[in-house]
Symmetry: C2
Subunit: 372 residues, 2 copies
C-alpha cells in the first residue's frame, strides 16, 4: 500500500487475520501505518523510481490516498504491476472536473457544474441558473474542506484561480443532509453495498456518521446504493468506493464527491458490520470473494476524534473505558495537533439517541473538549 | 510482548486501535507476530541479558507463552520492570505441581493428584483410590497433549520419568465434556468473565470451541465463572486467565489446566464478543478499564485450522469466502506443517447446527481434508 496514513494502518490491521503480507511505502517512519507494520519502505510516492522499486515483489498495489500522480500509475500498470484501483478509475478521484464530466455522461445526478476560467466566468456560471453563492473547487488536491471556497460574488472569486489548477464551479445545493453510499467491487466484478449512512460535517470536516441513515426512505436508500454500484462498475473501480451524496430538500440525491479507497464514512463498519470496509478492500484488491456487508447492530455511530489539548490520551482512556465498556476506540498513533484527525470511536446499540450520546461524549472527552 | 507466536500476533492486532506501541521479542524474524509487527527484537527469551535489554523502554512486559524461566521474571521484577502477570502468578502456569497444590489449598475442585516418584509410586497412587488408567504429566513444558501420558499399569509408566522433570499423577476423570471459563483481571482488581465455553479436543489438541457451552446448567456456568474469578484473584493473575475444566458425568466441574495469557478457548471472542480476549488482555496489562465481555451473537463457533496439504491457501480462500460471506478467517502466517495450528475460523449465528457446520467445513477445506 502506498501512503502511511490511518487508512493504511487500519488496512494492515484488517489484513493480519487473512495472513496478508503487507508492505508499506511511507513518507516517514513515524507515519500512522509505519508505526505498526513490519515491512516498511520510506520513500517519496511522487518519484517513479521509488514506486517501481517498491512494487517489486508486490502482488498488487493499493493506496492510502489519491496523491500518486496518475502518469506514474499508468507507468506501473504498463510495466505489468497490478494497480488497484487502476489509473483509469483513479483519475476520477484525482480530478473533480473529469469526475463531473463522466458522471454526467452516465446520467448520474450531480449539482450543476462546469469548469470556469476566471472570476467573470463564475458570474456567467451563476447567471446560467446556479445563482450565487457558488462553490469553487480546485479540480485536484482538495480534502476536508481544503481547496473549496464558497463565493458570494465575482469579487470574492479571485483566490481559487491563484493556484494555477483548473477550477470547477458548482451550484450550492440546498440539501437536507449529507449521505454516503459505500460499495466494494472486485476485479472480477463482484460488488457489495453497505447500508447508506448519514454523514454530519462540522467546519467542513466529517464529525459523525450514523449507520444506517435515520429516516431515509427505502426508495432513496436503494437509489443511492444502485447509483454507487453503477459508478463502481462504469468507472471500473476496484476496492472500496465512497460516494458522498447530498440529500436535497426536495428529496433527490446528488453526488458530492468520490473516494476510491477506505473512507471515513465507512469506519463504522469496523465494529458495526459483519465485514469491515478495510477487510473488504483487502479482499477486493486481491480479487478474493467479498465479505458480508450487513450491519451487526441496529445502529452504529462513528465520531471522529480531533486533536485537542491532550498530548497523552492515557488519562482520557481511563475515563472513557470505565464509563462505557462497549466503547470501541480507534486511535491512529499520530502526534496530536489541534484539529487533526487522530482517531475515531464507534458505538452501537438499539437506541440511537443513546448510541449517539456515547460516541459524542467519548470523542469530546478524548479531545479534551469536556473533562467532567 | 515476549514470544512471537500467534497469540502475540493477535495481541498486536488488538492493540493497534488503542494506539499501543507494541514491541516484540521474537525467536526469529519469521515468527507469526514478527511478520506483522513494526518493532521486533530477535533474541532468546531464555537469556536474562536479552530480556533486560528488551525491557528497556517498555511500560510493561507481557507474554505469548509460559516458557520464560520464572527466575528471569523475578529478576526483571526486582529491577522494577512491570511483569504482567507477575512471576508469583505465572509460577502456577509453569508448574502443574505448584498449581495443583495451590488450587487444592484454595478449595478449588481438582482431579485426585499427587507428585509421584517412580512407576511403583504410580501404582500406589492408583491404589489410593484413583485406579488405573492414571494420567501422568511432567510438571513443566507440556502443551497440546505433549508431556502427557495415559498409563494403564506400572509397566507402562516408565517413560514420563526419563526427562528428569517431576511427574504429577492425576486420576483419569470420567468427564462428559471439557469446558473453559475465561476471565480477565487488571492489576487494580477489576475482572470480567466471558461466557463459559465447550472445548472439543481431537487427539489431545483443541479442535472446536462452542460459545456459550450448549445445555450447560446456569448453576454450573455460574460456578465455573466464580471459580475462575477466584483463581484469578487468589493467584493475583493479571490479564487473561483460561481455566480448562472437566464437566464430570456426575455433574461437577474439576480444573484441568490453567493458562495465564490469551488462549485458544477464547479465540471466538474476536468475532463473537463485544471485546475480544486480546483487547481485554492489552487493557488489563496496561491497567486500563476492561471492556464488555458479553457475546454479540447467540452462538459463536471457533474451529482450528491445522496444517495439511496446501502450502498456499489462496485457492482455499476462494472457495471458503465464496461459500460463506460471513466466515471469519484468522491465519497466523506460519509455514504449513501437517498437524500444526496455522489458523482458526470463527462463525456465528442463531442456529447452532448451521454455525458448527460452517466452521467445520471451512476448517476442513482450508486444511485440505475436503475439496468439494
Amino acid at each position: 500500500m502506498v501512503g502511511g496514513g490511518q487508512l493504511a494502518r487500519m488496512t494492515h490491521e484488517a489484513g493480519i487475520p487473512l495472513g496478508i503480507r503487507f508492505k508499506l511505502l511511507s513518507d516517514t517512519p513515524k507515519d500512522s501505518a509505519a508505526l505498526v507494520a513490519g515491512d516498511v519502505v520510506v520513500g517519496d510516492y511522487r518519484d517513479l523510481d521509488t514506486l517501481r522499486d517498491f512494487a517489486r515483489g508486490c502482488d498488487v498495489i493499493a493506496f492510502d490516498h489519491e496523491h500518486v500522480p496518475v502518469e506514474h500509475l499508468r507507468a506501473l500498470e504498463a510495466a505489468g504491476v497490478p494497480v488497484r484501483p487502476g489509473p483509469a478509475a483513479l483519475l476520477h478521484a484525482h480530478d473533480k472536473g473529469v469526475m463531473r464530466e463522466r458522471l454526467t455522461e452516465l446520467g448520474v445526478p450531480c449539482p450543476r457544474h462546469r469548469i470556469v476560467a476566471d472570476p467573470a466566468d463564475v458570474t456567467r456560471f451563476a447567471r446560467e441558473g446556479a445563482g450565487f453563492p457558488v462553490i469553487l473547487k480546485t479540480v485536484r488536491g482538495g480534502y476536508d474542506g481544503k481547496g473549496v471556497w464558497v463565493v458570494r460574488d465575482e469579487a470574492g472569486a479571485a483566490e481559487p484561480f491563484r493556484a494555477g489548477v483548473p477550477v470547477l464551479a458548482e451550484e450550492k445545493v440546498d440539501f437536507r443532509r449529507e449521505l454516503a453510499a459505500n460499495v466494494v467491487r472486485s476485479p472480477s466484478g463482484q460488488a457489495v453495498a453497505y447500508p447508506v449512512v448519514e454523514s454530519i460535517q462540522v467546519n467542513g470536516v466529517c464529525d459523525t456518521v450514523i449507520a444506517p441513515a435515520p429516516d431515509l426512505s427505502p426508495a432513496l436508500a436503494l437509489a443511492a446504493q444502485e447509483l454507487a454500484l453503477k459508478v463502481a462498475k462504469e468507472l471500473d473501480v476496484v476496492g472500496h468506493l465512497a460516494v458522498e451524496l447530498f440529500e436535497t430538500t426536495d428529496g433527490r440525491i446528488l453526488v458530492n464527491e468520490l473516494a476510491m479507497r477506505p473512507h471515513n464514512s465507512g469506519h463504522w463498519t469496523q465494529d458495526g458490520a459483519v465485514t469491515s470496509q478495510f477487510a473488504n478492500h483487502v479482499r477486493a484488491v486481491l480479487d478474493l470473494p467479498l465479505g458480508d456487508p450487513r450491519p451487526r447492530a441496529k445502529w452504529t455511530v462513528m465520531s471522529n476524534v480531533l486533536g485537542g489539548d491532550y498530548p497523552d490520551m492515557y488519562q482520557a482512556y481511563l475515563h472513557c473505558m470505565a464509563r462505557d465498556p462497549g466503547l470501541k476506540i480507534h486511535m491512529y498513533g499520530k502526534d496530536v495537533k489541534p484539529g487533526r484527525k487522530v482517531g475515531h470511536v464507534n458505538t452501537y446499540g438499539d437506541d440511537l439517541a443513546d448510541v449517539r450520546e456515547r460516541a459524542r461524549h467519548a470523542a469530546d472527552y478524548l479531545r479534551g473538549t469536556i473533562t467532567e
